[in-house]
């Protein structure tokens, strides 16, 4: 066991703020995942399906990767491969140089932590700003993230307040929404002026070459939409064969990460913005990072590559609940980190992490992919032990015990000697209160039973096989009762879909209003505040011009949602509210599907603080998979970027306090028309 790890353990256990935060995290996240998983008709079947999908990646990896790269290139995404962290960083810097980049806006990416990208770019003179609220906080403090989903998990609002007061020049406050608002305004300027956006990739599809980003705050959307250059970093294992497979994984990733049916935003990128007036970055690069993954694939730890980085195992792990992420000393903490870290970076450096586990299996139980983490922890321990790792007295003790246990008569003799020794130590007490070092590691917090003077072996021998053993009770047999089969579910009617959509969106703080198309103007006028300022719209043909004309006649200034803005007077940044037309709605999650468009649908749906979306009831589908099957896949292929929007922008990065409207709109109103 590395000495520094041991120090980290002591530090974590003696930090009451961390302990409270970790307890809070475990309780909230576990309950959230339980509730969210219960909304699936057959959670076990979905998990099995997802596991089979991820298994195909391990079985068919290189061909699938080749298909994926081909699809990306057909989508006009520039694909670069990096075998090492150093090479990946060098690729990013080279792209930055090519486009004369000075300011980089960065969304959350575990791979970027893994390759230590920020210090690399900063050494080269670039300014890199983390834009996820939690990452922004830890970057200001010069700390690594403490959890893969909740980077500032370890901090209380007082500490964040002090950090913001020190670095952002705001007066000290403990008001989470005030802090979030300052972060919003500070980072908005970064988004609008950044020369390059960097994001990770949650999952990518080999058939359509889609890069999928699963986010809540809207910063992931900003960095892939506003800066002229977008660089996506992706571990080469984060693939699924088809976009239909993606739909299956998306049923599990948000549910198990944050307890959401779907995150506020799911961004699906098929390529750069195609037109002069882009609705999404004009240059897109994808850097595929190996950095030990192919090597790991050839080991018994390969199953660890099936991870979808939901963090459920961290939240379920009783050891993580005591330690938090920092103690692991790796970008990948917790149970899966104790597999992935030695798998990617070597057992010599990270093998000791596998011993920070009781093998209780809570991780595997929580894992939506059912990754057998305990099996691999055992394997890492074996490698670590074989390499000479571990405490000396334990190494000697285990060997000695093994030697004795394979010699039954010697074992019995040793038992009798130990019984004598422990009975002396017990000094007449039932249990031992003290044992000499190193066994005092036990008696520090526990008494220990003395070895029995008459072992079971001896009792059996001396009593003719325990001939008189008897019970004060007996078994009772009953007929077995079997539960009846559940009734098959019926397919939902259009009315059901409306009800389901409304319930789902309302549950995530969105608003749904059923309106007749002729009443849209009147409804908007009623909903929007008197000092509403200019509106931003994006709608093609059909209804948009008529509605915009009506709004203009009523004296409401309307801008088109284009970015970069053709002129200052048309700057969408001025808009206080936006209106867009949705291509489809997903009833199970209360989601609207918004495609990028030459008139700027994505920009208009992202920049203003309030967003109205017009959705026709006829465009409602049961879920993402149903939309894909009903023509959605063709729409996806033809669109450089599609965003699934589920409720307002949100964050829980400060003390897990929910705050709406971080970077994207804080208010979302869907006008549902017949």
């Amino acid at each position: 066991m590395s000495a520094s790890f041991h120090q980290s353990v002591r530090r974590a256990l003696s930090n009451p703020v961390l302990q409270e935060a970790l307890d809070n995290n475990a309780a909230r996240r576990k309950a959230g995942a339980r509730r969210a998983n219960a909304t699936l008709d057959d959670p076990v079947a979905v998990r099995q399906h997802a596991r089979a999908i991820r298994q195909t990646v391990l079985d068919d990896w290189e061909p699938m990767l080749a298909r994926f790269i081909g699809a990306c290139q057909a989508n006009r995404i520039v694909v670069l491969q990096a075998s090492s962290a150093e090479q990946a960083c060098a690729h990013v810097l080279e792209i930055a140089r090519r486009h004369d980049v000075r300011l980089v806006a960065k969304a959350k990416s575990m791979v970027s932590e893994e390759i230590h990208l920020n210090p690399y770019l900063e050494r080269a003179g670039l300014k890199v700003v983390e834009t996820d609220l939690g990452e922004f906080i830890v970057q200001l403090r010069g700390e690594p993230p403490a959890h893969i989903i909740t980077p500032a998990l370890h901090l209380r609002r007082q500490e964040v307040g002090r950090t913001f007061a020190e670095h952002l020049g705001m007066p000290y406050t403990e008001d989470v929404s005030a802090m979030t608002d300052v972060a919003r305004r500070t980072l908005r300027q970064v988004f609008l002026t950044a020369d390059m956006g960097i994001s990770g990739v949650n999952l990518a599809t080999a058939d359509t070459g889609t890069l999928c980003l699963v986010t809540n705050e809207g910063n992931g959307r900003m960095v892939t939409t506003l800066p002229p250059v977008h660089v996506a970093l992706m571990g080469i294992e984060r693939l699924v064969p088809t976009v239909e497979d993606l739909a299956v994984i998306l049923q599990l990733l948000p549910r198990n990460a944050t307890g959401q049916i779907l995150t506020s935003y799911v961004t699906l990128i098929q390529g750069p913005g195609k037109l002069a007036i882009a609705d999404g970055s004009q240059h897109r690069y994808l850097i595929l990072v190996d950095n030990g993954r192919r090597a790991m694939h050839a080991t018994p730890l390969a199953e660890g590559l099936m991870c979808i980085r939901c963090g459920a195992c961290l939240n379920a792990c009783p050891v993580f609940q005591e330690l938090g992420g920092h103690a692991y000393g790796s970008p990948y903490p917790g149970p899966i980190g104790s597999i992935v870290s030695p798998g990617l970076f070597g057992v010599a450096a990270f093998g000791h992490l596998a011993k920070a586990s009781t093998l209780c299996g809570a991780c595997q139980e929580a894992c939506p992919i059912g990754i057998d983490i305990p099996r691999m922890l055992l394997h890492v321990r074996h490698q670590h032990f074989s390499g000479g790792g571990g405490r000396r007295y334990l190494r000697v003790g285990l060997r000695l015990f093994g030697w004795g246990a394979t010699r039954p008569s010697l074992f019995a003799a040793a038992q009798r000697m130990a019984a004598l020794a422990t009975s002396l130590l017990a000094r007449g007490k039932n249990w031992l209160r003290w044992l000499p070092p190193p066994a005092n590691a036990w008696t520090g917090s526990r008494h220990f039973p003395p070895i029995a003077t008459r072992s079971l072996h001896r009792r059996w021998r001396q009593t003719q096989g325990l001939a008189r053993a008897s019970t004060n009770g007996h078994p009772v047999d009953h007929a077995v009762l079997r539960p009846s089969d559940p009734e098959p579910a019926e397919s939902p009617s259009p009315q059901d879909l409306c009800v389901q959509f409304t319930q789902a969106l309302t549950a995530v703080s969105g608003e749904v209003i059923a309106v007749d198309p002729s009443q849209i103007f009147a409804t908007l006028e009623r909903l929007l505040p008197p000092d509403r300022g200019p509106g931003l719209y994006a709608g093609q043909a059909g209804a948009a011009p008529a509605l915009v004309g009506e709004l203009n006649r009523a004296g409401i200034e309307m801008l088109q949602g284009q970015w970069p803005a053709p002129s200052d007077s048309l700057n969408p940044e001025r808009a206080a509210w936006g209106i867009v037309w949705a291509q489809a709605g997903l009833a199970d999650s209360g989601t609207v599907v918004l495609p990028s468009s030459p008139v700027g649908t994505l920009t208009a749906s992202l920049l203003p603080p309030t967003l109205a979306v017009i959705l026709s009831q006829g465009d409602l589908h049961a879920d993402f998979a149903a939309w894909l099957a009903a023509g959605g896949k063709a729409e996806l292929k033809g669109s450089p970027m599609v965003v699934l929007v589920t409720g307002p922008s949100r964050t829980s990065d400060i003390e897990m306090t929910m705050t709406l409207g971080v970077h994207g709109p804080g208010r979302l109103i869907v006008l549902l028309t017949p």
Partner: protein, 243 residues
């Protein structure tokens, strides 16, 4: 019906009374019990600690001992039963001859409550009525072996027995983990002791003496009167603790 009892080294050395209770319970079910005398340890502590060389030696010895007959093997421990049923298959993955023997043994190995309920079909137990207890679902039993309802079914069927189901959180034992990571282990134990205390039960019941030894060791250290007992002891009508 005849079975071979693999008592586990902890029961043998520390809690022989649990072994006697297991024999009594099986006999009450009209099962003949054989106790192969060359048995020692299944090899799990070494396996979990990474010393697979030592573990293989103990596993081979255990396989040989339990190959004396083809009778089912009953183990009064979720974690040791898990070792025989699953651990051995990982341990001998690269040794086909031993893997085949391990697989054969695994297919006839059962944890005690699993054997009573799933194999013998015991639905309820007419034990000594009354009492309060907290049931601790040990990790390898629950998640490794998938045994959740069987011990509860037996326990809850005892007339007037009030059973509190403790949350399925690890007690922090983890074998060598308990001395390799004493601070972490103790922190996890403290949570378990709180849950035990909150249950107001007089006894903690489980199917693994390793976890129960850990919990009772903590209860005693804190000067609490709550004691632990193995499920077999409750079924045998023994009102006391582990020993």
């Amino acid at each position: 019906m005849r079975v071979q009892l693999f008592a586990t080294c902890l029961v043998d050395s520390l809690f022989p009374g649990v072994g006697e209770a297991v024999v009594a319970v099986l006999r009450a079910c009209e099962v003949q019990v054989a106790f192969p005398l060359d048995q020692t340890c299944c090899g799990q502590p070494a396996f979990n600690a990474g010393d697979w060389g030592s573990s293989r030696k103990m596993a081979r010895q255990t396989i040989e001992v339990l190959e004396a007959t083809q009778d089912p093997v009953v183990i009064p421990s979720g974690s040791c039963a898990h070792m025989v049923r699953h651990g051995y298959l990982q341990l001998f993955a690269d040794e086909p001859a031993w893997l085949a023997r391990a697989d054969q043994l695994a297919s006839r190995t059962y944890e005690l409550s699993q054997f009573l309920v799933d194999i013998l079909g015991v639905q309820a137990w007419a034990g000594v009525p009354g009492g309060t207890c907290a049931y601790h679902p040990s990790c390898h039993l629950l998640r490794g072996m998938g045994i959740e309802s069987q011990p509860l079914q037996l326990l809850e069927s005892i007339p007037e027995m009030q059973v509190t189901r403790l949350e399925p959180d690890c007690c922090g034992f983890g074998g060598v983990f308990s001395v390799d990571q004493p601070e972490l282990s103790s922190a996890m134990l403290a949570r378990k002791l709180q849950a035990v205390h909150a249950s107001q039960a007089a006894r903690v019941i489980g199917c693994d003496v390793s976890c129960l030894m850990h919990i009772e060791g903590g209860l005693r250290k804190q000067g609490l009167d709550v004691r632990c007992a193995h499920l077999a002891q409750v079924l045998a009508g023994d009102g006391g603790g582990l020993r």
